[in-house]
Structure formats: structure tokens, C-alpha cells
């Protein structure tokens, strides 16, 4: 039994799930704010990508660095966190048949986040916050720069508290029986990591704001780095947990997939909670002030259990799709379940492309770059953004894009138009972001630094520069950025069109993106026979073995590259 007041709930015409109208309002508000931040960050992205393309070199140095700051903060903090608050509200109300705990506090959370985001952006544009997203002390921004981030973080923290309060009242009112659904469990993992992240952010940014005001004389740069990265890296793990929850959600919505083993999936989420915070150490692997023992311990012991978690999800999501497709009769060979998957459904294609890009590109590069010694040949080069554009953009943003193709019809109750175009957007965006990631990674392998306006060093006293291959790689980055930007802009245009001008679907089910039709060839006119062994997933096993071999080759190739550089201790 739900705990809604009758006037504050509707029954979804597509899924039959009860939708709390207060939660719906705030899912909409946060989703709109998220897309605005995404658009803003994307405009900054294309400007800086076209500046790093040496043949174009669009912006002057001042605006280049300013837009790098704008891009980092709007994409990694504002877009992602607004969207995650929307996902949290969805997971604790609709899926648990509960009302949202507090409408008033949800307003407070939203307004604080919006005010903080606006304040921070205003300060950056006024030229008083050219400090990059990391704002490493003693680089100094205006106190209002930090205040904007702190207000935003407090708002997000209140959002997390509303989420936990809703879990509590749902449990108290017995709105569901047994354990929470897997997607909600993933959201809980994301919210727990988010709270830890936000507290680290407060620890780093509140003293820094006081220092910027002149109330504190000195902030130790080493202390700032370790504390700030307690915000900076685990906050990306919030994305990962939310993204994985979205993978499970989209796999269910598009193919009817069920997790093979709920215990495995949930254990993997718990591993994220327990072991990801120490991934902050990745950013300090070539720092002074922390010892080799500290670096190795915090990299391997803790990190690789979080890596294990991602490798488990990377198996269970496609395996659940494989089982669902085999149950529908697609059983021949290793991959007929995959070739017959609903690739024309943008929710499915976005989910699967996100999974592949996150695993094969983002995951493998991330673990390798985060290996203590290998970091010597990667730290602060473009290899680092090459890694995280494959995780956060090719992974999280693409998964959230796929989610939007269901959020708009189900929560905004409006249909997408231009459906032929919409089906192609995930492919265009994925192709673009892959080129971006490859261009960055190869340029970084030549040593090209990240956050750098001019790799020809014109005007420098002592000359420096890079080989032609580095320039070529930056050209690939530029072309990829144009494709990804085109995909993202199309996505935003069709989504804004759908939200404001799309056909209403109130009172009926959403227009399907394309169901998986059971393969009648298997059973003739008879019902399709049940699978002999529900956990037999040879196709997924083949895919993950390809992943493992790729991983090993890349990992050991990097050790070889490291062994060729000067000796150092």
C-alpha cells in the first residue's frame, strides 16, 4: 500500500507504477536544470576543443582557461548532480510506491543548488575564478566562487537527506515488501558516496573560502589536494553508481532483462561504497609528501576491489540482456541475442554503447593510469581527460541520455517527435566522444599536457614543442568534439521540443521505441520453450574475455613504456 494522499499521486499509463506528483515536479525541475547545465558545458566544450585543435586555435589564452573552468564545473558538478538528484527522487518514490518525504525541503535543496550554480558561473565569467575546477591553492579565486560551490553542495546534501528520509517513511509505512529493487539499491549506493563526497568538499572548500577572504593565513597545498580529491574522485563514483543503476533500469525497460543474481549485483554496489574513496589517491601518485607505501596501498588494496565491482556489473548487465533475449527465442550461435537486440531503440543503444565505452575505453585506461608507477608517464597529460571523457561522457552522459528517452514520455508525459533522428543520436554522440577520447589519449602519450593553451610554446624563452603526431591527435580530438557536440545539440533540441511542444500522452501508454519481438522461428506456433540453464551466457562470456585480454595487453604495454624512461626513485 502506498502512502500517498489521493490528490498527490497518479498511476503511470505505461508501467502501472504510482508516481508521486511532488517527486514528479522535482524530477522535472532537476532534469531541466541538468540539461541547461549540459548545454552550457557543451558550448564551453566545443570552444575549448576547437582551441586545442592547433589548426583552428579559436580562443585567446584568457578565454581558453576561463572556458576550461566553465566546462569542468558545469559538466562534472552541475549537470551530473542535478541529474542524479532527479534519479534519487525517482528511485525512492516511484519504485518504492512512496511519496517524497518533504516538498518544502525539496524546494530548499533545488533553490540552493540553482543559486549556487548561478553564483559560481557569474564569478567565473566576471574573471574572478580562473582557477580550473580543481582550484588548487595557492591559486586564489573570489570568495563567492567557493561560496557558490558550497551552496550547491549543501543543496545536493539536502537532496540526499530527502532521499534517505523517503526511504525511511517508505519502510515505516510498508509501501513495499521485502528488499528494495536493485535500481533503488544502486541509487542508495550513489547517495551514500555522494554524502561522503560532499563532506570532503566542505572540508576542502570552506577553509579555502576563509583563506580567500583573508581570515586564514595559509592553506597547505598538499593537504588541500588530498582533501579536495576526496571530493573530486569519489564524486565521479557517484556517477558510476548512478550510471550502473541506469544500465539496469534501461536493460529492464528495453529488453525485459532481470538480474541473474541479485546478490552479486548488490555486493558489487557495496564494494563501491567501501572502497572507492581511496581512489582519491590516484591524483597524488607523483606528489611529494606522500610515501610510496601510502600510494601503493591506497591504489591497489582499495581500488582494485572497486575495479572488481565494475567488472562484475560489466558482466551482469549484458548477461541479463542475453538471458532475456534467449528467453525470447534468440538462441542460435554466440551473438544472435546481441544482433537481434533492439538497436533502433535509443534507450537500448545508449545503454549498450555506454557500457562498451565505459568498460573498454574508460575502465581499462583508468585502472592503468591509476597504477602507481605508470602514473609517471601519464600524470597531467591529456591521457587523463582521455580516460575520463570515456567514463563520464561516453559512460555516464550517454547512459543519462538514454534515460531521457524514457523520462520525457513517462515523467513529462510528452512524446519525442523526429523519431528517426532520435534513434541515430546515441550513435553520433558515441562516435564523437570515442574520437575525443582517442585523440586525447594519443596526444597525451606524446606528453601533451591537459589544460594548456599552446603546445607550440610560442613566446616562451626556452623552446619546446611536440611531434607532428601530437598535432594530428589534437585534430582527431577536434573532429570528434564537432561530432559529439552535434549529437548533444540534437539531443537537447529534440528533448526541449518534446518537453514543450511534444504530443501529450496523458491517459495512454507511451509510444514504444520498439519492442523485442519473440522469435517464433524457434518454437513454431508453440510457446517458446524455457531455457535449459538460465545462467548460461556464452555470448557475454566471450565479450568479457575480449575485454580481459584487451585489458592485459594495454596494462602490460604501459609497464613496457614505463621501463623505457629514465630511472628515478
Amino acid at each position: 500500500m502506498g502512502n500517498h494522499r489521493p490528490s498527490e499521486v497518479r498511476i503511470c499509463d505505461t508501467t502501472g507504477l504510482p508516481v508521486c506528483l511532488t517527486a514528479q515536479l522535482f524530477i522535472r525541475l532537476n532534469a531541466v536544470a541538468a540539461v541547461l547545465a549540459l548545454l552550457h558545458g557543451a558550448i564551453a566544450a566545443i570552444l575549448i576543443a576547437l582551441t586545442r585543435w592547433p589548426a583552428v586555435h579559436l580562443l585567446d589564452a584568457v578565454y581558453y582557461y576561463r572556458f576550461v573552468t566553465v566546462h569542468g564545473i558545469n559538466m562534472l558538478i552541475f549537470w551530473i548532480l542535478f541529474m542524479e538528484i532527479a534519479i534519487l527522487y525517482f528511485a525512492c518514490t516511484v519504485l518504492l510506491n512512496s511519496r517524497l518525504a518533504s516538498r518544502a525541503w525539496a524546494w530548499v535543496a533545488f533553490l540552493l543548488m540553482a543559486a549556487g550554480a548561478i553564483l559560481n558561473n557569474v564569478i567565473i565569467y566576471s574573471g574572478k575564478g580562473d582557477v580550473m575546477m580543481t582550484s588548487y591553492v595557492p591559486l586564489r579565486a573570489d570568495p563567492l566562487f567557493y561560496l557558490g560551490l558550497i551552496l550547491f553542495a549543501v543543496g545536493a546534501l539536502i537532496g540526499c537527506i530527502i532521499f534517505f528520509a523517503t526511504l525511511y517513511i517508505a519502510k515505516r509505512d510498508q509501501t513495499y515488501t521485502g528488499s528494495v529493487p536493485l535500481v533503488t539499491f544502486g541509487a542508495i549506493a550513489a547517495a551514500i558516496i555522494a554524502v561522503s563526497t560532499i563532506l570532503h568538499g566542505a572540508m576542502a572548500l570552506i577553509p579555502t573560502m576563509l583563506w580567500s577572504m583573508g581570515w586564514i593565513a595559509n592553506i597547505d597545498p598538499g593537504w588541500y589536494r588530498i582533501t579536495w580529491w576526496g571530493l573530486g574522485h569519489p564524486s565521479q563514483q557517484v556517477n558510476v553508481a548512478a550510471m550502473v543503476a541506469v544500465w539496469y533500469l534501461l536493460a529492464t525497460l528495453t529488453t525485459g532483462a532481470k538480474p541473474l543474481n541479485e546478490g552479486v549485483c548488490r555486493t558489487a554496489f557495496v564494494l563501491y561504497i567501501l572502497f572507492i574513496n581511496l581512489a582519491a589517491a590516484h591524483h597524488l601518485l607523483v606528489d611529494p609528501g606522500v610515501s610510496a607505501g601510502w600510494k601503493i596501498w591506497n591504489t591497489s588494496y582499495a581500488m582494485y576491489l572497486a575495479v572488481l565491482a565494475s567488472m562484475l556489473h560489466g558482466f551482469t548487465v549484458p548477461a541479463s540482456v542475453e538471458v532475456a533475449m534467449r528467453e525470447k527465442g534468440y538462441r542460435s550461435g554466440l551473438f544472435s541475442w546481441l544482433t537481434n537486440a533492439p538497436w533502433q531503440n535509443p534507450g537500448f543503444s545508449a545503454m549498450f554503447l555506454s557500457l562498451v565505452i565505459f568498460g573498454f575505453v574508460g575502465g581499462i585506461t583508468g585502472v592503468t593510469l591509476g597504477t602507481q608507477q605508470i602514473n609517471i608517464i601519464a600524470h597531467n597529460t591529456l591521457r587523463i581527460p582521455g580516460h575520463f571523457h570515456a567514463t563520464v561522457v561516453g559512460g555516464t552522459t550517454l547512459a543519462f541520455m538514454g534515460l531521457a528517452f524514457y523520462v520525457v514520455p513517462l515523467i513529462f508525459q510528452r512524446e519525442y517527435a523526429f523519431r528517426g533522428l532520435v534513434r541515430r543520436i546515441p550513435y553520433l554522440f558515441a562516435a564523437g566522444i570515442l574520437l575525443v577520447s582517442f585523440g586525447m589519449t594519443f596526444a597525451g602519450s606524446y606528453g601533451v599536457p591537459r589544460r594548456h593553451w599552446d603546445i607550440d610554446f610560442s613566446g616562451a624563452n626556452l623552446s619546446a614543442g611536440f611531434a607532428a603526431g601530437a598535432h594530428l591527435s589534437l585534430g582527431v580530438l577536434g573532429i570528434g568534439a564537432l561530432l559529439a557536440f552535434a549529437g548533444l545539440l540534437l539531443f537537447i533540441l529534440v528533448t526541449v521540443h518534446a518537453v514543450f511542444l511534444g504530443e501529450s500522452n496523458m491517459g495512454r501508454a507511451m509510444q514504444s521505441w520498439g519492442e523485442v519481438v519473440p522469435n517464433v522461428a524457434v518454437g513454431g506456433r508453440e510457446p517458446i520453450p524455457a531455457l535449459a540453464h538460465a545462467h548460461h551466457t556464452p555470448g557475454t562470456m566471450a565479450l568479457v574475455m575480449v575485454l580481459l585480454v584487451t585489458f592485459m595487453v594495454y596494462y602490460f604495454a604501459n609497464w613496457k613504456a614505463l621501463s623505457d624512461v629514465w630511472q628515478v626513485r
Binding site: 595557492p138 594548456h452 628515478v568
Partner: protein
């Protein structure tokens, strides 16, 4: 369904391919974990983070003394300073230059001290592509042995203000 509560008794041991994959992934994670301590003892490239607290004025003084004692030439107004094999050499990372140019011998080992009097900087040795962080207040010591000869530009790869992309330096290694 991942959007509905699972049926009671969902906590079961994994079976089949899933169980196999968990085993393989765990073994791979353990291999990766073992590689780092192995390389720490047997490998030749490590970042041990050896460092000492230093006041900017003191570090500037040490750099200046190093330059005065060991200067062998000058390029574009920057002194070229030859280090003593086995000894201490000093490189100042400062908005927006690396000072001085240091001359070293291939195959000899030096204790390279890195620090900054102002902002954070990145020591990035090209085209070899070796990267270390430079923090104000920290004397970061790299015990370093060049294994090839030639001129090697040093660039900054930590954002340090508007002159960041003009911040360069040089190491010269002779046979």
C-alpha cells in the same frame, strides 16, 4: 526486474559463467595489486614521494647557491649549471619559468630538488614524458638517472595562471 523488489531468498551463490567471471576478475585484480610492490623493489622507475618541508626563501637561496657554484654557461639569459654526479641539483619552478638549465651526465645519478615559491606547477620532461608534481613549501626530491643524452625541454603541466603555456626549461644530458 531491476525495478521491482526481488523475491525472498535472493541471496544465492553465483553459478555458471557468472561464477567463472568473478573468479577471473578477482585473479586479475590481485595480479595488478601485486605488480606495484613488485615494481617498487625490482623496477627502475618509481615515485617514492621523498620530500622535505622548505620555506620558499630558503629554497630560492639553495637554488642561487647551486647556480653560483656550478655555472658553466648561459643560454638566452638563463644560466647553464652542471651538477656533480651523486650530488644535489636544484630546479626552481616559478611563474613562468624553470630555473636554471641543468647539465647532467648520462648514466650518472643525481638528487633533483623541485620546489616552487608561488603556485603549484607540473614538472614534465619531454619528449620522454615523465611527470612529477611541484608544490610550494615542499622540497620534492627525485633520485634520477638519465639513460639517454641530448637536450630535453621541461614544460609545466599544472595550470599556474595566464603565462602557464610559456613556462619552459631545459635539461642537457651529455655522454
Amino acid at each position: 526486474m531491476s525495478i521491482q523488489s526481488p523475491a525472498a531468498g535472493w541471496l544465492k551463490a553465483p553459478t555458471g559463467n557468472e561464477r567463472l567471471w568473478i573468479g577471473l576478475a578477482l585473479v586479475w585484480c590481485l595480479v595488478m595489486s601485486a605488480m606495484m610492490p613488485y615494481w617498487h623493489f625490482r623496477g627502475k622507475q618509481n615515485s617514492t614521494g621523498e620530500s622535505y618541508s622548505v620555506r620558499p626563501a630558503d629554497f630560492l637561496q639553495r637554488v642561487e647557491r647551486f647556480v653560483q657554484t656550478n655555472k658553466v654557461g648561459e643560454e638566452k639569459g638563463v644560466p647553464i649549471v652542471e651538477g656533480t654526479p651523486g650530488g644535489d641539483i636544484y630546479l626552481l619552478a616559478q611563474m613562468w619559468r624553470f630555473y636554471p638549465i641543468i647539465k647532467m651526465k648520462k648514466g650518472q645519478t643525481y638528487r633533483l630538488h623541485l620546489s616552487s615559491p608561488d603556485l603549484e606547477h607540473g614538472f614534465s620532461l619531454q619528449p620522454i614524458n615523465m611527470n612529477f608534481q611541484v608544490l610550494p613549501g615542499y622540497d620534492h626530491v627525485l633520485t634520477i638517472t638519465p639513460t639517454m643524452s641530448g637536450d630535453f625541454p621541461v614544460i609545466c603541466n599544472e595550470f599556474c595562471g595566464i603565462g602557464h603555456h610559456q613556462m619552459t626549461g631545459k635539461l642537457i644530458v651529455v655522454d
